[in-house]
């Protein structure tokens, strides 16, 4: 097979820079709107939120930076997860899309650095539990958080964060190195090494996916706890990652790349998005039902804040509609999963939907009544997301251009090239 390489052309780079530029412009407009338009009662609420006197729009930006970094880092790590479980399951069909998922790993270092910086600089804004007065006797003393300080404390949190990214990056790097080396030298030892590192990755990710979700998402609401939360975040990351893989594969194909990807591969990617949208809904519903049914105040406050609150309930229901009903109904028919355009629409919907899933997880405890669906989302949130998306695509497309688009010496490549689910 002839080697096919993705060319990260100046035209594509220009598009990415324009998107990021537009994002910056939107953000600036959004900030001006927030500063001058003076959303009602903005300052009053800001006092209740942990902004230390800063205006609410600043907190909003900090929250968006954190949200996008958690969202895109999750997608990046799911790319590695996809490669790893395909190795372990000895799945042959996905070899032709493997390089796309593999390239997501190029975002991990960016995500790691941004995450550490954001935490070091803005920890008091993002995490209520970082305030020292909660642990000293006085009016602010919080007995519950005092009990958690063995886990929720600045140094340990930072060490954990560094460990996650270092482990993820180095295991991804090992998988990637073997994968690229296999292109140059058709030796089965690279395949076997990839299987070994994939197993290590699954072991590490099995634990760190839950612990990172507790750290980065659940501890924003430090009194709330749910044993399901780690898997809930994992499900959301996972389906977003699958949607991103599908989106990149379909877009590459539209631009004349990946000619070996046929409608059966698309069908399988569609099945993945379909199945794991249902899986996410299952996890969502199981967590909701049990908390609703038992109605223990410490737990149900989470849903009271989001469901019984006019500011957030539209987003709450939108989350369910976009992430469950829409992919479920659209991808139900077999033929729908084989159409590039339908996959593209659903993948974009899933990505937007799960971005809002993280939004509804993170915003209520930080912005209180100020985080609802209003026109500012179109500027501040959209602007920051476009900047992050631009960085994400720049990193992965740049990575993608460094090696052949199809791993040409993968021992299961022929299975994948001749893949047909109707045989």
């Amino acid at each position: 097979m002839t080697e096919e390489k993705f060319i990260f052309s100046a035209a594509i780079k220009k598009k990415i820079f324009y998107t990021m530029g537009a994002g910056i412009l939107l953000l600036v407009i959004g900030i001006f709107m927030a500063m001058n338009g003076g959303h009602h009662a903005g300052h009053e609420v800001a006092e209740h939120a942990d902004t230390h006197g800063g205006p609410i729009w600043q907190l909003r930006i900090i929250k968006d930076l954190w949200l996008n970094n958690v969202f895109f880092s999750g997608i990046a790590i799911v790319g590695v997860f996809f490669v790893a479980f395909n190795y372990i399951a000895q799945a042959g069909w996905g070899v032709v899309v493997k390089r796309v998922a593999e390239s997501f790993g190029y975002f991990i270092p960016v995500g790691g650095v941004v995450m550490i910086l954001l935490f070091v600089v803005f920890n008091h804004d993002l995490f209520h539990w970082t305030h020292h007065n909660l642990y000293e006797s006085g009016a602010e003393f919080d007995e519950i958080l005092n009990g958690k300080k063995g886990f929720l404390n600045f140094p340990f949190f930072l060490i954990r964060m560094v460990i996650y990214f270092v482990l993820w990056y180095f295991i991804w790097k090992s998988i990637r190195t073997n994968s690229v080396a296999e292109d140059l030298n058709a030796d089965l030892k690279y395949h076997n090494k990839s299987i070994f590192w994939s197993a290590i990755f699954l072991l590490v990710f099995g634990v760190t996916s839950s612990t990172s979700a507790w750290d980065w998402v659940m501890s924003i609401d430090p009194h709330f706890f749910s044993t399901m939360f780690g898997w809930y975040v994992l499900a959301s990351w996972f389906v977003s990652g699958l949607a991103m893989i599908t989106l990149v594969v379909v877009t590459l194909k539209e631009n004349g790349y990946l000619s070996v990807v046929n409608s059966s591969h698309l069908h399988d990617l569609g099945k993945f998005m379909f199945a794991f949208s249902i899986f996410w809904s299952y996890i969502w519903f199981a967590q909701f039902l049990l908390i609703y049914y038992a109605n223990i105040p410490e737990e149900s406050i989470y849903f009271v804040e989001r469901l019984k609150n006019d500011v957030y309930s539209p987003i709450f229901f939108m989350n369910l509609f976009i992430n469950f009903a829409f992919p479920f109904l659209t991808l139900m028919a077999a033929e729908a999963k084989r159409q590039a355009i339908i996959l593209k629409i659903v993948a974009i919907a899933i990505l937007i939907g799960h971005w809002f899933d993280f939004y509804i997880m993170m915003t209520p405890p930080l912005l209180k009544q100020e985080g609802g669906l209003d026109v500012k989302i179109l500027f501040i949130e959209a602007g920051i997301t476009m900047i992050f998306g631009g960085i994400f695509f720049y990193m992965i497309l740049n990575g993608l251009s460094k090696a052949s688009l199809v791993p040409k010496n993968h021992p299961m490549l022929q299975e994948s090239v001749h893949h047909s689910i109707y045989l």
Binding site: I144, F225, G230
Partner: protein
């Protein structure tokens, strides 16, 4: 064109041809029962007989014969129920989920695993009937119009959801299993004479193997697989909600649904391994249930065992993290209270020992696999016992703290389910084809060792 990568090991060894498959599997159905079979069957029937006596006594005298007390009102009955239902999950996972994932190795084990599912669900149902105390009123669990005034099922109760989930699951599993059997019954019919030909002829529903029949067979298999997949997840999800909807420390935890499903698949695969490791030797099926099949099942065991392990650790961590004193106590009491031995048996058998399967040599060692498959089932029984008994035995009122001691009837009713399970499984193994001949034949071309040599 379908291509099979050279790195894939063959799934059918020994150079079997399509006619060998028919001969090797029909041989067991057509031959006289072996001595081993007769001995095993006799033991199972004795076990069933003694168990039936104990069950009869339970109904005749009442549930007072069990070791329940005012603090622990649910113990072995529900433990055994959950254990058996969980075991049942592997059959559906193998036949439905692995079909959707196009895993060819499922063809050699799906028949026996599905049979195991059905029998395990029947065993589970026997505990529902047993712990009703008055089984003749079992129909009260159904939402039937009645003349008892306002008597109606409580739709808010997960126990009622169980009734629907499990009965639907049993029905669909039975249909799935039977549909798969039809072509094989036709194969046996073609080889049989006399009364056997009439019986297998009737069982095969007039199957002639035309292209139209096969097309329908494949279509219905996919539809049933699509139906069974959400069903199998729903069953153990709802079983977990029997506990998790209540506000009892140790029971109410949101991770229960997926964690119970993972545990169910874990124990189910262990039971499939236990049964298949014996069956393949007794029926000389080593070329069909190969070391590759065993290794694949062991991989699923280490995966699901690790998922269960993460869930245990998550529960423990969140119990501490929550700052809720009752929740924390429930978990500390599990680990170091009077039931510490049950807790550590569970931890050892479910989380620690299956980790040996990370090592390839262990996954491919039949003796270790056999021992570990039994260890896993012991561990999974303890898991349910730990969740149920340790959360109940020390309630909010220390004066009513108690321990549970099983009586002869607790043990006897458990033996009843073993007797029932093995009696049914042995009858199945003798009179039905234990391996899906039609589906194994379909992979011979792509995945048998013989074809491999030709290249």
């Amino acid at each position: 064109m379908q291509v099979t990568s050279p790195v894939r090991p063959p799934l059918v060894t020994g150079g079997k041809t399509i006619s060998d498959v028919t001969a090797d599997i029909c041989k067991q159905v057509e031959g006289k029962p072996s001595k081993m079979w007769i001995i095993s069957f006799t033991l199972s029937v004795i076990c069933l007989g003694y168990g039936s006596y104990c069950l009869w006594m339970t109904w005749w005298e009442g549930l007072g014969l069990w070791g329940l007390n005012k603090t622990i009102g649910w113990a072995w009955d529900i433990t055994n129920f959950v254990w058996w239902v969980g075991i049942g999950h592997a059959g559906t996972l193998i036949s439905a989920v692995l079909l959707l994932f196009r895993q060819k190795w499922r063809t050699s084990i799906n028949r026996a695993a599905e049979a195991m599912t059905i029998f395990a669900v029947l065993c589970a149902a026997s505990f529902i009937l047993a712990h009703m105390g008055r089984p003749w009123m079992a129909y009260w669990a159904l939402p039937l119009p009645n003349s008892f005034g306002s008597l109606w099922v409580n739709f808010n109760s997960p126990l009622v959801w169980d009734v629907f989930a499990i009965s639907t699951y049993l029905t669909v599993s039975l249909v799935f299993w039977y549909v798969g059997l039809i072509p094989d019954f036709a194969t046996i019919r073609e080889r049989a004479t006399g009364i056997r030909r009439v019986i297998y002829g009737a069982l095969s529903f007039g199957w002639v193997g035309s292209a139209k029949h096969w097309s329908r067979y494949e279509a219905i298999s996919l539809v049933l697989a699509g139906l069974s997949t959400p069903l199998v997840l729903s069953v153990h999800t709802i079983v977990s909600m029997d506990f998790a909807t209540s506000v009892i420390p140790g029971w109410h935890t949101t991770i229960f649904p997926p964690y119970f499903v993972a545990g169910a698949i874990f124990s189910g695969f262990a039971m499939v391994l236990t049964l298949m490791l014996i069956t393949r030797v007794v029926f000389k099926l080593q070329d069909y249930v190969t070391i590759e099949h065993i290794e694949s099942m062991n991989k699923i065991i280490v995966l699901t065992g690790s998922i269960v392990g993460i869930a245990y650790i998550t529960e423990f961590f969140i119990a501490w993290y929550s700052g809720a004193p009752y929740e924390s106590y429930a978990f500390v009491n599990r680990m170091s209270g009077p039931y510490w031995w049950a807790y550590w048996s569970m931890m050892t058998c479910n989380v620690i020992s299956p980790q040996l399967f990370w090592i390839r040599a262990v996954r491919r060692n039949i003796k270790i696999t056999f021992v570990l498959s039994i260890v896993v089932n012991i561990g999974m029984w303890f898991e349910r016992f730990v969740i149920i008994a340790t959360s109940l035995h020390r309630d909010y009122l220390p004066s009513s703290w108690a321990m549970f001691y099983p009586t002869k009837y607790d043990v006897g009713d458990y033996l009843f389910s073993f007797g029932l399970f093995f009696t049914l499984f042995l009858l199945f193994a003798k009179y039905f084809p234990v391996i899906n001949m039609a589906e194994v034949k379909s992979i011979i071309k792509s995945s048998s060792g013989k074809q491999e040599h030709k290249h």
